[in-house]
């Protein structure tokens, strides 16, 4: 059978990994796919750099459109990233009747509705396993493996940089800024780390997973984002004393009121497997009504792990290229004409448990005031510890609450911060049991 010709847009870390995997495992991939898969063209601004990576026999050009529209190319692989030229190239490829494989989470989370609609119209597939959690086949699990389920929630460690920083902060008791600097030295964090540490990257991935899980359009603009830059080693230590680990989680939950879509540091019971996913590794928990809780673990980034997902998509597209478009697996798991109109909840309407740390003047009656305020907002307390403060005559009270809607916690915090006996602002972190 005629080989499938792949055209690569962007020959960087993942592009290089994709070229390596396609070449190194060519025989095995052909045995799986039923035909040879050949990297035929690559587009890169630096032609020499790209040639050094993809080797001879691959036509390297500077113009991405020359690849996206080339008549010999069957599958266009977009690994440029971002929403500028990458978007134009993906749309050009679709318009030229090419199937597209992309690792571009930002593009899909922000412009996926437009891109998938265009692909549907043109009868081509846009595959994106590499866009979420690197090499972990979580897109396939959500789209196909769990298709029997009413999916209730997803919670994932889906940003390796943040997880590395949190792991180091816990292991060494170091401050955020120190660990960030170390991560930058090691190459685990970018020079401008905002995108990773403030939750943007995780929210892009979460947006895509929520769309697949519930059959809703991409709604990145409605996601709640809170990063790890304000997290202190002290809160990590207190959480640990209470039996919890703090992880930056992307959480989406389907409730009667709507869909929660939120990224924030989260306390998780230390006995959960996902609480023990450390360093740059990723893991995603998915709770379905039939299957219960499942978890998927692996490398969430890196050249070869991400290439693993890119090439798996290429194999999938190769296998299914001849299926009638209407019988292919739908891009977002659900048929495009049967998406649901579920509202994304604002963070104030989200229900969670909470960790609250309050700095108080150490005198009789303070605790009574705190508990009275919490009770008045319908918040019940699961655990409470009192710690000495660095400042004389002050103390810290750390509280864990039962589940409650966030606006009530915010109202309680406003009243607590107004107390004479309370100094500074209250630290609030969310807490999830994540039980099956």
């Amino acid at each position: 059978m005629k080989p499938i010709n792949v055209g690569l847009l962007g020959v960087g870390t993942v592009g290089g990994g994709t070229a390596t995997v396609l070449k190194r495992n060519a025989a095995e991939i052909s045995r799986r796919a039923g035909r040879d898969i050949v990297l035929k063209m690559a587009a890169n601004l630096d032609l020499d750099a790209a040639r050094a990576i993809v080797g001879d026999g691959v036509d390297v050009v500077a113009d991405g459109f020359a690849v996206a529209r080339h008549p010999d190319i069957d599958i266009v692989v977009e690994l440029i990233g971002g929403t500028g030229i990458a978007k134009e190239l993906v749309l050009a490829a679709i318009d030229s009747g090419k199937h597209v494989v992309t690792a571009n989470k930002k593009l899909l989370a922000e412009h996926g509705n437009e891109i998938f609609a265009r692909a549907q119209e043109k009868g081509v597939t846009v595959a994106f396993e590499a866009a979420v959690a690197g090499g972990i086949p979580i897109i396939k699990a959500l789209r196909e493996g769990l298709s029997a389920n009413h999916i209730e929630w997803i919670a994932g460690i889906i940003n390796g940089t943040s997880n590395f920083i949190l792991t180091e902060m816990r292991d060494k008791g170091s401050a955020f800024a120190d660990v960030l600097a170390e991560a930058q030295r090691l190459g685990y964090a970018e020079a401008d780390p905002t995108f990773d540490i403030e939750g943007h990257d995780a929210a892009h991935k979460l947006t895509i997973m929520a769309a697949l899980a519930y059959g809703i359009p991409m709604q990145f603009d409605k996601a709640y984002l809170e990063g790890i830059s304000k997290l202190t080693a002290r809160d990590i230590r207190y959480a640990e004393e209470l039996g919890y680990r703090i992880k930056l989680l992307g959480i989406t939950r389907r409730t009667d009121k709507g869909v929660e879509l939120r990224v924030h540091p989260t306390l998780i019971p230390e006995k959960r497997l996902i609480a023990n996913v450390d360093g740059v590794m990723n893991a995603v928990m998915v709770k379905g009504d039939a299957v219960g809780a499942t978890m998927y673990y692996g490398a969430g980034a890196g050249s070869l792990p991400t290439a693993s997902a890119v090439v798996a998509d290429i194999v999938d597209v190769t296998r299914l290229a001849t299926a009638d478009p209407e019988h292919r697996v739908p891009h977002l798991a659900f048929q495009p004409d049967r998406l649901a109109d579920l509202a994304i909840l604002p963070i104030s309407e989200v229900e969670s448990s909470y960790y609250l740390r309050v700095n108080v003047i150490d005198r009789a009656g303070v605790l009574a005031e705190l508990t009275r305020i919490l009770a008045s907002e319908g918040i019940s307390i699961e655990a409470l510890i009192q710690k000495g403060s660095e400042r004389e005559a002050e103390a810290e009270i750390v509280l864990l609450t039962h589940r409650v809607v966030e606006k009530h916690v915010n109202a309680a915090i406003a009243q607590i911060e107004a107390l004479d006996s309370v100094t500074g602002s209250v630290t609030k972190l969310r807490m999830e049991a994540l039980n099956g």
Copy 2:
């Protein structure tokens, strides 16, 4: 579009769960599959019991062949189990041009080569996600999600009964027989538990995973099986002191000499996530050359979790039913005419690390004798602890070795057991680092 009609063979625990999931999540499943999926017929020896479970509107019959060959049925779901009537019914369904979904690991591990060949010939699909690790979509991960990889090894906790027993033995320090009796009372172990605790069930699942991972025929008869019935609470405790947990693992590894295919109790470093998979839960680690180590975790058995996998297969078959047979995903991940001829290694040729416990007469020179024998067989020692024995003037020596081919360990053990200063037989357990 016309609904897809499903015929169920066997309405027991999983059959009932399948009926429940198809009904409860009918709307969502239809939104995913692009058409309604209807349970149309069911065959069960006890008609009344089946009717009570599947409800009105399903034609319940006693004769499975009436379902397997019925012209209105599109997909036949075999949930009877075993290799007797189940095999006849699956072949009858295939011969009648039906797609088949089955949870029958024994049937596939022992007769899969014949069944898949027949399905290939007739142009139908036999899907079997539920045959391995219940609701965890591990078949899909191996067959599709990791298709870019040269898979190096798989290690799985794939028998919930055994894992429950091992977890209880560790938590309570109880003896195997006591925990087994408790598991039987709780319904976690069968009246005749042999199939689970002696590794047959795990070996069936491992055989299927190895076939998918390496593109080799099913070779269950060549799997090495060692169960947990001889494991003592003492060895579990000693392992723990050394930083390890003992799990019944199914392990398959591709080496230059051939394929390892083995089920046995295994020491795993306690810091590995899989070492912390407790109770009846399952988890499978897969190591690919590109992706590195990945892990898949969830419920490995039970009515609804297994039904989750059965129904996911039904949705898959429904979606892909119109693809040309040659462009469907191959049953065993690799194209049927491109399987590999890799030999399965006998256990004596397997390479592992080892835990050895030797009961000795507590006198000078014993340790020198032991270490001399180990050195003469090329076995180096990673750790050694000496423990008091229940019997006076005796002691126990517990050794961990570095990696070595098993036949050398067996030769050393024979020599050690022949020593005057050694009493009883040497306890040998295998140990795997399972690092990425």
